[in-house]
Symmetry: C2
Subunit: 234 residues, 2 copies
Amino acid sequence: MVTRDRRRAATLAEIKAAARRLLVSGGTSAVGLRAVARELGLTPPALYRYFPSHEALIGALVTDLYDELTTALMDLAGADDGDLGAKLYLLANGLRDWALAHPAEFGLVFGTAVPNPEGDEHEVTPGHQAAMRFGGLFKELVAQIWHQKPFQHPADEQLGTVLVEQLTAESEHFHGMPAGAIYLSLNYWTRLYGLICMEVFGQLHWVLPDAAAYFEAQLYEIGQALGLDCPEPG
Amino acid sequence: MVTRDRRRAATLAEIKAAARRLLVSGGTSAVGLRAVARELGLTPPALYRYFPSHEALIGALVTDLYDELTTALMDLAGADDGDLGAKLYLLANGLRDWALAHPAEFGLVFGTAVPNPEGDEHEVTPGHQAAMRFGGLFKELVAQIWHQKPFQHPADEQLGTVLVEQLTAESEHFHGMPAGAIYLSLNYWTRLYGLICMEVFGQLHWVLPDAAAYFEAQLYEIGQALGLDCPEPG
DNA sequence: TGTTAACTGTTAACGGTGTTCACTCTAGGC
DNA sequence: GCCTAGAGTGAACACCGTTAACAGTTAACA
């Protein structure tokens, strides 16, 4: 019987589900090793049969959240068969909606620093792979947009040799797009991420009580930079 | 004698200095109540004569860091008597330099969510006041730039009534600037903050090994939006 | 000046955390 | 049917923030 492995996988899933529950209800600090064990009616040391440390458990949770978000956004964008611009618009709005609906998860996934300061051996963890899959969503879509209708982009001379060199190094991930186009794509992601971070972390409440209108206006702006005729705000 | 208050103020400063030291050397998690007490040769309960809780100690530390950053940037911008655009450029670069030089402090000050979800009684803490002073730095400078040489800005119709309403509510903080101009100013801050956050938190390392060139290009771009002739990148 | 009150620090303790070790018991494989 | 690997337990360790009761010093006031 393989019921042994099956049982192990089941409890492993239960552990992560309990951790997720605690994260949602009480924020990042609430998902402690002992609390998770309590949730399952187990003693704390029992969890060490499944995760080598509390940190590893959190890491697995982050990986799951990344994948959940990725598939959710894929479903969202896949359902719409319209033009690619509308797809990107859906993706951006979907990410914001998810972040606002799950602020604790967002804070855990995107608010914690990536531990890659001195990049000797990358030691590509499953969490990193999940993050790459997530990032690939946007890269892929932007590359499709570019190849369908190339948008105006700054020339290499405007960007400077250093930046162009770094951007062209990423060209393979963008299906051979030129540096200027990758630059604009990076802008899109940077501004989107920054906007959502500020809204979720409450840095925007002090000037804008409800950032929805501002977000929409910004989405229109950054979409235009990619040659998209986004839905106009207002 | 007032030596009693003097002594109290001295130890209070020592406590915060020790906390700061721990923050720098070991990150946010290293600045614990017991660790701070250990650093001063005191027992943990002694600190409760100075701060009502560990959280209050952290709050005081954040306030100090805000003020330190604010005065540092004021000195930086005050020294240069050139045009206001150069001042803003110095400010933005100064903020980035500070964030990269003190990543732990930056993470503590800007990376933690502002606890203002349902804004009933704001209960304006010293930390909030310090944050306002810091934000005021940029608002003030941008307002000066606007009044010296008004830059092109989107019309109200382009932004939509909801957004215009919110922006004009902030008009007094921007010395009576119109909504479109405030919108562009907000863009400047949003993009600057997002960029620095991503760089410090390592979200940019995976695509750009060294974000300096990208940051410079972005600074040029967002400065142009405010009608400034920034130093060109490259 | 002597008394009193406030202030600063201590020790002991409580409940909480992540983690390790030695142990038991049960289920699967030979 | 033995035997081993795995799952789970209880006790313990070292840490954490916090509280309560207590002691010594110092400022203020009658």
